[in-house]
Symmetry: C2
Subunit: 350 residues, 2 copies
């Protein structure tokens, strides 16, 4: 079952929980706002459901509770920040503000960030810039993470390496949000918890054989998640993974050379202003022409229609705004348990 909740009630709940968990007030406000926006888009795996994961990180000090990021370098159109393991949502809100302003002036801005904490749902972030007419590209990696083997190998080296692109269109932004591996660590854990196999061979066992079995990551020696393209053409996902790690780790000057063991989010953010290229109107005209051609493509067996990334988020957002924000039972159960432990009052469903 899925109940719906008022936006302000959910934001207050998240904010109170994070504050009680030790996060500075200004940061708790920003993180709560972005988590609620994520639930509004229907990405309930990355919304309020993250709070129970952030609380122990705040308690242990793995997520820094207060302070600011360090500006490592600033050349105007290019920047490097050290996030000092502050909440990624807060870092990214600062990053978007700085880079959106500069992109309007310079046309393009690139920021590589080391040592952020978890930045949450990438589409929530790219949407902020895309809704204001800008192109926003974000990729992220964790230099301590090893889940994906390089193509042709069996030992895990890479993270799934998510990447996202948001850009303006006529009605609502296009929101691409994907990664360099076929599936994610969260999905692997879900399948392990539910005792189910993947429908396709998306994993690799420690001997290098493709398999549908998610538990290979818990075995010794450890199996891995296959890169996009799988055993068939995984050199394509490997190429994406190397690119993401280069942008997030090599450009930020912090990565696997340091044998990092603390979980951290390295981030590459690029914002461009279509007005600084051929113009905002031609940009949207071409995006819409392509989107229309894609939507007009006759559906393949098993599909109702061709979708443009961001279509579902736009529908979910409309519904969230009129009917309240839907949270699945399993999310609410976890959030409620954490709230009760902290002594934070829970809102009622609508």
């Amino acid at each position: 079952m899925t109940d719906r909740y008022a936006r302000e009630a959910l934001k207050t709940l998240a904010q109170d929980m994070l504050s009680k968990g030790g996060l500075a007030a200004d940061k708790a406000e920003v993180v709560a706002e972005l988590l609620v926006r994520t639930d509004e888009l229907g990405v309930t795996t990355h919304g309020l459901s993250m709070v129970p994961y952030y609380l122990p990180e705040l308690a242990s000090g793995n997520m820094t509770r207060d302070g600011v990021h360090e500006v490592v370098s600033d050349r105007g159109a290019t920047l490097v920040w050290d996030g000092n393991y502050l909440p990624g949502h807060w870092i990214m809100q600062q990053a978007l503000e700085v880079c959106m302003d500069r992109a309007r002036e310079l046309g393009v801005v690139c920021l590589s960030i080391r040592r952020s904490h978890h930045i949450g749902c990438l589409s929530t972030l790219t949407r902020i810039a895309a809704a204001q007419g800008l192109i926003c590209m974000i990729s992220t990696s964790d230099p301590s993470g090893r889940w994906v083997a390089p193509f042709g190998g069996t030992d895990a080296v890479l993270t799934p390496n998510p990447w996202a692109v948001g850009y303006p269109a006529a009605d609502h932004p296009v929101l691409i949000d994907t990664c360099a591996s076929i599936t994610t660590v969260s999905k692997v854990r879900e399948h392990i918890n539910s005792g189910t196999q993947f429908a396709h061979p998306w994993m690799l066992d420690a001997q290098g054989n493709a398999t549908t079995d998610p538990t290979v990551v818990n075995q010794t020696p450890k199996g891995t998640i296959l890169p996009v393209g799988g055993a068939d053409h995984g050199h394509k996902g490997y190429a994406m993974a190397l690119t993401v790690e280069m942008l997030t780790q090599a450009l930020s000057g912090h990565g696997r050379s340091e044998d990092v063991t603390r979980w951290g989010g390295n981030v590459f953010l690029q914002i461009m202003d279509p007005a600084a290229f051929a113009g905002a109107d031609p940009f949207v005209r071409e995006v819409e022409a392509l989107n229309a051609a894609c939507r007009a493509s006759r559906p393949a067996p098993g599909f109702d229609a061709v979708r443009i990334p961001g279509d579902r988020a736009a529908r979910m957002l409309d519904r969230s705004r009129t009917e309240g924000i839907a949270l699945p039972d399993e999310v609410w159960t976890r959030v409620r348990a954490a709230a009760e432990t902290l002594g934070v009052a829970l809102p009622s469903a609508l």
Copy 2:
């Protein structure tokens, strides 16, 4: 069989053929140089073997024989050029010169180009910047091309949409050169010509069923090439394809809204200077740490070792420089036929 030829002899041959074909002298020199560099890297599908394809394009006027590109907009860090269907190699050489200079000053430069002709092997181009310590990203599409259906659809809308990234490492640059579809139009034609099936279902028939049959693209209604990820997780390749078309068509203000029928190359070029981020040395240090970890990953069944993209090109280049440039017989046969028609003298093999 594969004979080897002297570099200067091949360059003179290509230059003479292109000049006799009508291309202005300065452009013939640049195109010939880049084609030879491509053969030097071992990418003989995109080197001198292209000349017999370019000659009819010059004859018909589809490839412009002389003139310059138009600067549509120039904001310093962002530019738009109209290539006027000039040879893509020449346009890209101009583009690299301008953008490498500016990247050293500004840290990042982005150029979107409309209406170039064929730009050849992307790694040949990215390598120029990467060998000088810069990060070079190139993607390209043809707004008149329809070979790949959007994921979930059956009608072709997209081109294979190649993308490449070159960046510095310790010994030789990393050269990623891939595309958003599982295979390319050239490979499909090769399989049709040789009467062979693909080893895996990389195609989609007009009814939307995955198939190994390359001839579906010649049937009516027409089949398509599957995006990266295939029938299984092709939404990932579709995401890449949308991104490439956005960067090359929407940003350049020329695309599918115009119902383009003339073959053309739209291009997005981005150059970044690691020195404008965390520094050139930390950049290479992290690239090398990642590369070393990948190479140390135990090979999977069927693989000798994990490779870093660019390893093979570096080996081929070394060998080309010491032993001459290898051209496979089938390439030489086509080049010789075209040279004889033009009355251009052929060099002997080494």
